[in-house]
């Protein structure tokens, strides 16, 4: 699965474009976070790798802005399990195991749309890295 970040203008807020694309292209689009008000909206969604190009084009054709957020990665060689990243994570994607190891739930993480943990890490072990296929989203 690939994560995409969709931005909608005020004009698109009332239109069911995500539902249309799901039905038309028969692809599952899993919405992870969404912030929508009358002035516009922002979705973080997950789409299957093979449908990425098609979905990106479909959203763009309808006037949405699409980008691929970077994903957060913790380098286990550099990490010494201090815990500085844990309380800072707004989505509770980073936690502490029984043995005080740091665990990271990628599914909960919203990647570079947040990045709060990156600068909180004293070990320099947390980085935001480009997703595979990110070149697709940079094509217009």
């Amino acid at each position: 699965m690939v994560r995409i970040l969709l931005k909608f203008s005020e004009a698109l807020v009332g239109q069911p474009i995500t539902a249309e694309i799901i039905l038309e292209h028969k692809v599952p689009i899993n919405i992870i976070t969404a912030h929508v008000d009358s002035k516009g909206g922002e979705f973080l969604a997950e789409v299957p790798d093979e449908a990425l190009e098609e979905v990106v084009q479909a959203f763009r054709a309808r006037g949405a802005t699409v980008s691929l957020p970077k994903l957060i990665e913790i380098d286990k060689d550099l990490c010494f399990d201090c815990g500085a990243c844990v309380s800072i994570c707004p989505l509770e994607a980073i936690g502490v195991d029984e043995d005080f190891s740091i665990n990271f739930d990628k599914e909960k993480c919203v990647g570079s749309t947040c990045s709060a943990c990156v600068e909180a890490c004293p070990a320099g072990a947390i980085k935001s890295v480009k997703q595979n296929n990110s070149e697709i989203a940079s094509k217009t």
Binding site: V86, I88, D99, F100, S101, A116, P122, G124
Partner: protein, 444 residues
């Protein structure tokens, strides 16, 4: 711990140099003694990459066997004629390479939160606004000083685990205050035998660099009392939740909290749940305890008796200051205010008659609602706007009366603004402090 560093002896160059200033991987080293002795302090930062790389990283790199760059200058003497040197060194090239930490192993430490409206970056890590997270430090029940609080076995000469090697306690640490359960240690160990798993350079964003030091102390159970003391558990060890949003020596203490609560991941502060996490690696603390146990049981580490006891009654005094630090309350002036429903023209007139540049918008209880500047008014006039609500700034940067003037000055510079409303904890407006008032007093 920040009060850590390493003493190195470089050996002599030919012709010799009496080093005046030196940099190792662009990190300035202190030169406390004769010609070629340097002290690499953990908190000294790289000139090229400040806040990313510092003395702690230099020590870690050397311990890992990496090559570092030395650059030094000197004024030149008859016996030490050389005035400049550049060379690359590994730990094997150094004569002595000793960790020499003047404060380590804090018995316990505060739990930090931030009451301000902005994120702050401290030695307790990144603290989110309005107490949205909390951090703490220390291993609680695993802290050696908590297990021998009367210093029966921990003293000068005690052999310890330090950075993955065997080291020694050389005295009480700076700021040692055993009576308040805030003891510290001064330690020494040979870096050449150390292991980077237990000695890591670190960088706290917008704060500075430091060194994570792995330290363990064996406590022989010599008597019934020690057996009981070493059985201490996290729920019996308390510290305070402290508001680091107040940049004063005596920061407000919000509540008492046990290490058991801190290690649970959540604490309650002001009736709200706050996520809390450690800054020191509890996982490494356990690993140290286990490693030390293995060393002792396979007879590669021998327990020593201290040759001298540590002070058990020393007090950590505040600094004697001969100059008085000015605080915001001293320079703030009464604020010129307005209400939300006023017309822009009326406010423009007030700016002229009262000869000010900032008007603070308040509600009927004198609580802060926003701020309007003479520039906002000028622009509104040019754009033909008449309603105050269209131009008022809602996210106002503020200051409290008991904050130092220096802090107010820095905050204005950070946000590129020229005044700060002074408010109390209920957000009631007490006055205003302007850049002009600050520069008059601070002379800049």
């Amino acid at each position: 711990m920040c009060s850590s560093g390493a003493i190195v002896n470089l050996g002599h160059s030919d012709p010799p140099i009496k080093i005046e200033k030196a940099w190792v991987n662009d990190v300035e080293a202190c030169h406390p003694g004769a010609a070629v002795d340097l002290y690499v302090g953990a908190t000294a930062m790289s000139d090229k990459h400040p806040f990313e790389y510092g003395g702690g990283h230099v020590i870690e790199d050397l311990v890992r066997g990496k090559e570092v760059n030395l650059n030094a200058t000197a004024y030149g003497t008859d016996c030490y004629p050389k005035t400049q040197i550049q060379t690359n060194l590994t730990k094997d090239d150094l004569n002595q390479f000793y960790l020499l930490n003047f404060r380590n192993c804090y018995q316990r430490y505060a739990c930090a939160v931030n009451s301000r409206d902005e994120t702050i970056y401290t030695y307790m890590g990144k603290l989110l606004p309005r107490m949205r997270n909390a951090t703490f430090s220390g291993a609680g029940e695993l802290n050696p000083l908590m297990n021998d609080p009367d210093y029966e076995t921990i003293g000068i000469g005690t052999r310890i685990f330090l950075g993955g090697a065997q080291g020694y306690i050389i005295g009480e640490g700076t700021q040692h205050e055993p009576l308040s359960r805030s003891g510290t240690l001064m330690v020494r160990g040979n870096c050449k035998n150390m292991n980077a798993d237990f000695l890591r350079g670190a960088a706290f964003s917008h704060y500075g660099t430091t060194l994570y030091v792995g330290l363990g102390i064996p406590i022989p159970i010599l008597n019934e009392g020690l057996a009981k003391k070493t059985a201490i558990r996290d729920h019996e060890i308390f510290t305070q939740v402290v508001d680091y949003g107040v940049p004063r020596r005596d920061r407000p203490k919000l509540r008492k909290v046990s290490y058991e609560e801190l290690k649970s991941g959540t604490i309650i502060v002001n009736e709200r749940k706050v996520r809390v996490s450690s800054l020191s690696s509890l996982k490494t603390a356990k690993k140290i305890a286990e490693t030390l146990k293995t060393w002792i049981s396979n007879a590669s580490f021998y327990i020593t008796a201290p040759v001298e006891r540590l002070a058990n009654d020393s007090v950590f005094k505040p600094m004697k200051e001969t100059e008085v630090t000015p605080f915001v309350a001293r320079v703030m002036q009464s604020a010129v205010t307005c209400r939300e429903n006023e017309k822009i023209k009326a406010i423009a007139e007030r700016i002229v008659t009262r000869s000010v540049n900032h008007i603070i918008v308040v509600d009927d209880k004198n609580r802060l609602g926003g701020i309007v500047t003479s520039w906002d008014i000028t622009r509104a006039m040019a754009e033909g706007k008449t309603a105050l609500t269209d131009i008022v700034t809602r996210r106002v940067v503020t200051v409290k009366p008991d904050e130092p003037l220096e802090t107010a000055s820095r905050r204005m510079a950070q946000h590129n603004i020229s005044a700060l409303p002074v408010i109390n904890s209920e957000r009631k407006v007490l006055g205003i402090v302007t850049a002009e008032d600050v520069s008059k007093l601070l002379g800049r």
